[in-house]
Structures are given as C-alpha cells and as structure tokens.
C-alpha cells in the first residue's frame, strides 16, 4: 500500500484511529455554549425577558418584561423624548443608545407618542428618564441572562 492510498494520511492521528476519543471535540461544546449564551443575551435585549424565558426562568422573564414595558408605556404616555439616531449632540446619542436598550419596545414607544415629545412640562422630562431607565434596565437584564447562560450563579 502506498502513502497516497491511505485516506487518513493528512488527518490528525486521533481522528484517523478508529475508536480513539477525539480531542478536537472538546472545545466544540464550549464554543457552542458561548454562542448560545451570546444568542440568549441578544434575545434578552431584543425582546425584554426572552433571555430568561429561554432558560425557563419564568418569574424573572415576566418581571423584566413587565417592568420594562411599564416604564416604556409610562414614559411614552408622559410624552417623554424618544431619541432617534439623528441626534444633535453626544447627549442625544447617549439617549438614543439608552432608548434602544428597550429592544422592540423602542418602536412601540415611537408608535405610542403620536403627539410627539413634550419636555416643556415636568411630566415629559420624567418620561424621558423613564424611557432611558427602561433601556438600561433591559440591558442589565440581558447581561444577567447572558451570565446565567454561561453558568454563573444568578
């Protein structure tokens, strides 16, 4: 038999030998677990509470969904400022990032505010803070879900 005829010639020995455990399999589950945790974190950001729901943490999922939803609904109803990507300064950009933290609720807030923002009253100013807090709270919850998916005690 020539070397060229051996089909396992260019493969690692562990793979070429039948019956031997493949050491290459060890890092694969770790990578998939990390990717899964990342996906859970992103899902938790996109839909508040979904990151915990995917891990069957139902109480936390409901509370995150409800608290972020209440803050967004109250903030938009009080005619708080929903920042867009077309900000004039760094504070507008920061506000946009914070508002975007609410995930899909960001678009719900825009739809709720059919009369536009009104920060000339204290209520509108409070509403702006409510919306930003909802976004930051959801980012915190998404990070919590990500850490829980990685196996950290949560």
């Amino acid at each position: 038999m020539t070397e060229d005829a051996n089909p396992n010639l260019n493969l690692p020995e562990a793979i070429a030998e039948p019956g031997v455990e493949e050491p290459l399999d060890v890092p694969v589950p770790e990578m998939s677990a990390e990717k899964r945790a990342m996906a859970i974190g992103i899902a938790g950001w996109a839909v508040p509470g979904l990151g915990h729901a995917l891990q069957k943490m139902w109480g936390r999922a409901i509370v995150v969904f409800a608290t972020v939803g209440i803050l967004v609904f109250a903030g938009a109803s009080m005619r708080g400022n929903v920042f867009t990507s077309h900000g004039n300064d760094a504070f507008d950009t920061l506000g946009f990032v914070a508002d975007l933290g609410t995930g899909v609720f960001y678009f719900g807030a825009q739809r709720l505010e059919h009369n536009g923002a009104d920060v000339s009253h204290a209520g509108g100013d409070y509403g702006t803070r409510f919306l930003a807090t909802a976004g930051v709270l959801n980012l915190l919850a998404a990070l919590h879900a990500y850490e829980a998916a990685r196996g950290r005690k949560a």
């Binding site: 936390r60 509370v63 209440i70 109803s77 009080m78 409070y126 803070r129 919590h144 949560a154």
Partner: protein, 74 residues
C-alpha cells in the same frame, strides 16, 4: 402663542398619563425595586426583603435630596 390648554393649566386627554412629581417618583421606585429584587435574589423571602428595603432607600434618598435642594429652589 400659548394654547388654551396652557392658559388653563390643565392637561387634555391627548396628553396621556399625567403624573405629578411624587406619583412619578413612587412609580419609578416601585418598578425598579421589583426588577432589582427579582434579578438580584433567588429566594422569594429574600426577594421581598430586598424589594422593600430598596423601595425604602429610594424614598429616603429621593426625599432627602429633594429636601436638601429646597433652600436653593427660589
């Protein structure tokens, strides 16, 4: 030019939810306390204690800061 709403000083239904300062403060403190309690504790009794303690501290700090700023409000 001020609108009728501004002259009258009343909110129309189109303004949606109209909370005063203290109501907004209470809503904020309650919602954040519940979220922190559920995210930060696993045991139900620990959660309740954490929520109540957090809510109390929100009230204490908020009213304290408001009270401290009162002399400079005029």
């Amino acid at each position: 030019m001020p609108t009728k709403r501004h002259v009258a000083g009343k909110r129309e239904p189109a303004d949606g939810v109209a909370l005063n300062h203290f109501q907004a403060f209470l809503l904020f403190a309650a919602v954040i306390s519940v979220a922190f309690g559920f995210l930060g504790r696993r045991n139900p009794s620990d959660r309740v204690k954490y929520i109540l303690w957090s809510f109390f501290l929100f009230l204490l700090v908020g009213i304290g800061i408001g009270w401290a700023m009162f002399p400079f409000s005029r």
